[in-house]
Symmetry: C2
Subunit: 265 residues, 2 copies
């Protein structure tokens, strides 16, 4: 079986922001769908793993774009597995215009497999006799020319920007706050002018712990020192903490960290 | 050209709620996409109308379901125009399982056309020499066996439940709060138990005025007197008012009304 799989979609009118470009969260959703189809078609889909009491957990996602697809454009996502270690696998994505082949950008993701009963990480190489190794395309065979995930380190001075409650629409089939909803909530921290003047050049997000409906999410943000030509910060570091301010654990728990690098429009 | 068009989709993993069923908002989005394809293919798409400085405005949407599609199910939406009056057109939908033909439910919608320069309603019958009449399928030719939109009448005693700010993710390409986002915010008013114990049998929503990023939305809700066998309200009436409490107009402006009829799970 081919190691690369291509997933196609059209940018729908209700999936674009006020600039007419695809919402980053919707792109993230399409990447996860592409991953789902690729893994399912190779016997490693969540539905197939559930029968063995395993499931995939998204650990990190990193999207870097020269350009965001616009309304009505036809888009293709190629996805493949770059590496498999004992507890993690790296899956990459190429995102291109289906009509003219122009590459919008790339994405990288890191996944763990957990035992759904113990919630403990499982050995990817032990499952199905190492079958997953059949699908690896190394960096040399299929390049993904964007940097790997970096580290987000907010200073102690970083300030909370907003605290949100979580509701029905935030939660996925597992009862967890949906990976994509975090991206939406993070982008909602920025004013309209930010998106009028800048596009998102790169988004990194690391999922460290789960949250559930009813948890409060506190968003902490810190602009980095580098500036764009217009004098605004070139990047913003973010952290989401859940249930800050409760008596037993006033500092809450860090559940997500993220980095946004802004580009000029 | 056929008067009915069929639009297909698969229920994606990240589009289902914690019960494993499609979010109502996502279903609404698919209905609007189906409408968009049907109208585009007949020369009445928003893109084609924009060239003539017209656009469609969704006035009412009403969805009634025996069952909500579940994760991974293949769904088909049939859509057609039931009637055209001078200032409004009625568009209906049938929603069925693509594998076994079982009908999940139906939907009705009412649309106006406005002049994008004057924001005034336009005469649908005058545009393109009444071409739109070629696509009408009357109730006798293609039944839509759910009630038409009713009226929502909250009492003076109805109380505000929540006030939300609006952000980047709420806004569509026209800078308006997205029709679908209102549905999400409305359903987020209900606790998890509501969806554990009940499904949405019918949703009616009327869009009365636009809101913009930065407007605040105040949600007012009132359970109706009818009870389900478990003693909970069989229906909830809702209203969204924007910018309540501002000095110049403390009562705000009513922008959306809605009715949810609950079914047993």
């Amino acid at each position: 079986m081919e190691k690369i799989e291509t997933y196609s979609f059209t940018v729908e009118p209700f999936h674009v922001d006020f600039t007419g470009h695809l919402f980053m969260g919707v792109l993230g959703n399409h990447l996860l769908n592409a991953a789902g189809h690729h893994s399912h078609n190779r016997g490693w889909g969540i539905d197939q793993l559930n029968e063995r009491h395993y499931t995939w957990v998204l650990s990190r996602l990193c999207i870097e774009l020269d350009e965001m697809p616009a309304q009505y454009e036809d888009v293709e996502i190629e996805t493949w597995v770059e590496s498999v270690m004992k507890l993690f696998t790296e899956r990459n994505f190429l995102i291109r215009n289906a009509s003219n082949g122009r590459v919008y950008g790339y994405a990288r993701s890191i996944w763990a497999m957990i035992d759904t009963e113990t919630r403990q990480p499982s050995d990817l190489l032990a499952l199905k006799n190492g079958d997953i190794l059949h699908y690896v395309l190394t960096e040399e065979e299929k390049p993904c020319p964007i940097a790997k995930h970096g580290r987000v380190r907010l200073s102690k001075a970083a300030e909370p920007i907003r605290t949100l409650n979580t509701y029905y629409s935030d939660v996925d089939i597992n009862g967890h706050i949906n990976s994509i909803k975090y991206i939406e909530h993070i982008l909602d921290l920025f004013p309209r002018q930010q998106f009028e003047q800048h596009s998102i050049h790169r988004l990194e997000i690391a999922y460290k712990a789960e949250a559930y409906q009813g948890d409060t999410l506190t968003f902490i943000g810190e602009p980095m020192a580098d500036l764009l030509p217009d004098g605004t910060p070139a990047a913003t570091q973010l952290e989401i903490r859940k249930n800050v301010g409760r008596e037993d654990k006033p500092e809450g728990e860090s559940i997500v960290t993220a980095l946004i690098k802004w580009g000029d429009n």
